[in-house]
Symmetry: C2
Subunit: 269 residues, 2 copies
């Protein structure tokens, strides 16, 4: 017989506090866990083999077969199912209109060594990206273009933050994620096949129809400073998108997407 649900009714319950603490990076790192919310996202996770260690359900939710499937999967893998109020769930996720369900997952291995570069033709690479929404959006775009994953260089936002997970729309579970310093990434990249392409403004050729080659690593830089000069110069190819107006740059996640879709089209043609 499967375990019952644990019912929590108090805001000051230690489990609620521990779950809520996962919104902060230091507590995520200490626990090695992160939060994800929403039935669709948790179902994507389950179908990709990621079952939450803890599942938190709002007590007044509509029944749904996918919710039952999720609960069964959690119980089958020895996890815990908690039932609580919508107000407490809202406090945990920090969202005014919370989803009816949230899950706690163990963080993934984000070492470069765990990446199989031959597993995909395109990889997205972000350097010092600070906005978790941009990071989640890059994961989502990576899923769409069939990228293998997202490599985070230097000090980036945390891909396991609630904001990044939310913006990824589930792609945090389908894309591989690696984190490395530049001086770890560059030797790793040069230790095998791989073309490093920067979205750049200078000494660059038009992005349209450039000679992309798989596996192609598409690199975008920090939101306000762009890429360090040395990193740009270490690229095999620097390409630029038309800038017809006053601005001299695109949003980082937009630049990655426009370039990523171009690489996809060229590699497929």
């Amino acid at each position: 017989m499967t375990r019952e649900r644990r019912v929590i009714t108090g805001f000051s319950n230690p489990t609620v506090k521990a779950l809520r603490a996962l919104r902060e990076k230091k507590h995520r790192k200490a626990a090695g866990k992160f939060l994800a919310e929403g039935l669709r996202l948790l179902t994507d996770a389950r179908e990709c083999g990621h079952v939450p260690e803890t599942l938190v359900l709002a007590d007044r939710r509509d029944p749904h077969p996918l919710l039952s499937a999720l609960e069964e999967a959690v119980k089958a893998s020895g996890g815990e199912v908690i039932e609580t109020s919508a107000d407490i769930l809202s406090k945990i996720t920090g969202k005014d209109n919370p989803q009816a369900v949230a899950g706690v997952f163990g963080e993934f291995d984000t070492s470069l060594a765990a990446l199989d570069r031959g597993g995909a033709d395109i990889w997205l690479v972000a350097q010092a990206l600070r906005d978790p929404g941009n990071l989640g959006t890059m994961l989502r775009t990576g899923d769409a273009i069939g990228a293998g994953g997202l490599i985070l260089i230097d000090d980036c936002a945390d891909p396991f933050s609630v904001e990044a997970v939310r913006a990824s729309m589930g792609a945090v579970f389908t894309q591989r994620i690696a984190q490395a310093r530049w001086d770890e990434f560059e030797p790793w990249l040069r230790g095998g096949p791989g073309q490093l392409v920067a979205a750049s403004l200078r000494d660059a050729q038009p992005y349209r129809g450039a000679p992309y080659a798989a596996p192609c690593f598409v690199l975008v830089g920090n939101e306000s400073r762009g890429l360090p000069d040395a990193y740009e110069m270490a690229c095999d190819l620097r390409v630029t998108m038309p800038m017809k107006g006053r601005a001299d740059s695109l949003n980082a996640a937009v630049a990655a997407a426009v370039l990523g879709y171009e690489v996809l089209a060229e590699l497929d043609s």
Copy 2:
């Protein structure tokens, strides 16, 4: 002789309260004004002919010729210059690390009638877009692809919110912005030349190399619901981007950018 700066030192000063209130939509609409921050953004605005009615400077800022030029422009046009502490400026803009300068602008005319559709080959159109960051990012992308502006259909986020203005990186001053209901937009569109193109998932042709024609109106829908069926069917062209992964949609601002850059490339070729 030009007017002196007004110095404000108190958090409870009525002017501080009035400026801070501009972070809320109802107060912006009541006042017909909005806030923008940062020397670069305010300089872009000035160079496009938009001088703030009120300029707010932090008292401990570094001198800068562009800041002096801004202050002179405000004084020359009869505006007011206020000097205050970084803490109070932070309270006004709601940002922990505020820029050294913020400005108050009168909201623009956002009627469809004020748009000159022949003035550009591409226009971006968003329907029920709820995230002000996405909206600002679309303005920024519009500037980059040489679009004429952004048309907001039905209930969208406010383009004059601090978040949208910030994400636009100044494009709120270079792009035209119109707001309309669908039943106003459609007759207006059909009252002149214009191809309406939707990013769509069904009954759609590949976005790459589709027969785009200027002036091309690129339509994206709400972040979670997409476009209403009737709106999609009213389009002249429905195109779809490859979706290689589990997800069935892109971030709205990303979809607009990938499609917008494709339209730009096809129209230029």
